[in-house]
Symmetry: C2
Subunit: 148 residues, 2 copies
DNA sequence: TCTGAAGCTCCAGGAACTACAGCTTTGGAG
DNA sequence: CTCCAAAGCTGTAGTTCCTGGAGCTTCAGA
């Protein structure tokens, strides 16, 4: 049993990268900016990661995939380290981020409309148009003013 | 008439900024990266812009507002300088960009779903949850796998 | 023991600005 | 005409989140 616990397999950075889908350089970057704690080193100064590091990195990756900013992830990690009181703040961060995402979607949708209009004005045919797309860009008055 | 043409009013960078809604620093940046041609200078070496510059900058701003990359704008500007053959390439750029925007919307929508789920799991109440949000981030298996 | 892959540090770049420091020019008021 | 604050100038560094390279060292398997 004591031996078992000692057996917690340890891995170099490349293995961690492969396992989590985070690039080697990015892992080192996360360490540098304080998202991932510095791991033990081998005699030859190479990083050696254990299961706790893998879990933490998975958390980070998941949050990044969801679009959380690194700074917010730092906070979420701190919260996850201090169980109990975490909830409120984590909830606030998530809700704020959800709102950001929704705003971004709204903005992109209005761009989509505008681009659709511009891109289809001139179907990319021959010289005739001269060129509706470029004219649309040159003259904002043609817009439906969806974008600022 | 000759006098009239000479009267084309000329303005310093601040006026151009105000008129177009592009910040002073950004205008200088656009010059530096070759989007906006270097204007005449006053005796004291200050930039003096005319109507052509204002128009070109409006074009750039409009395209940026629509999310076109600076590199594509460079191309669009070149096309707008060589009338006639412009259409095909401009159309291609617009269509590609429209596709990018649509992809981005799709990705954000799947994030929105996931975040909604995560953010509402724990309503931010008291300590009871311990904390659903953080657990959701720690454990990807809870996801509906909409995101990679 | 040897060798090639993987690891190390440090630094530059990229996209599109933004901001500062430390100076000079401008243009209107007095 | 003189003053002075506001606006302009150049050059550099910072922002966010990585990514890639140079030039070196270590590791692990044959």
């Amino acid at each position: 049993m004591t031996a078992m616990q000692k057996l917690e397999r340890v891995m170099p950075i490349g293995a961690l990268a492969e396992r989590t889908g985070v690039k080697v350089e990015t892992i080192r970057y996360y360490e540098q900016v304080g998202l991932l704690p510095p791991p033990e080193r081998s005699e030859g100064n190479q990083r050696r990661y254990g299961r706790r590091h893998a879990e933490r990195l998975a958390f980070i990756k998941h949050a990044r995939d969801l679009g959380f900013a690194v700074d917010n992830i730092r906070t979420l990690l701190r919260l996850s380290d201090t169980p109990g009181i975490a909830c409120d703040e984590a909830h606030a961060i998530s809700v704020a981020h959800l709102q950001e995402v929704r705003d971004k979607i709204a903005r992109l949708r209005s761009l989509e409309t505008e681009l659709e209009r511009i891109a289809t004005t001139c179907s990319g045919g021959v010289a005739a148009c001269d060129c509706a797309i470029i004219e649309a860009l040159a003259d904002h008055r043609q817009c439906s003013h969806a974008h600022h």
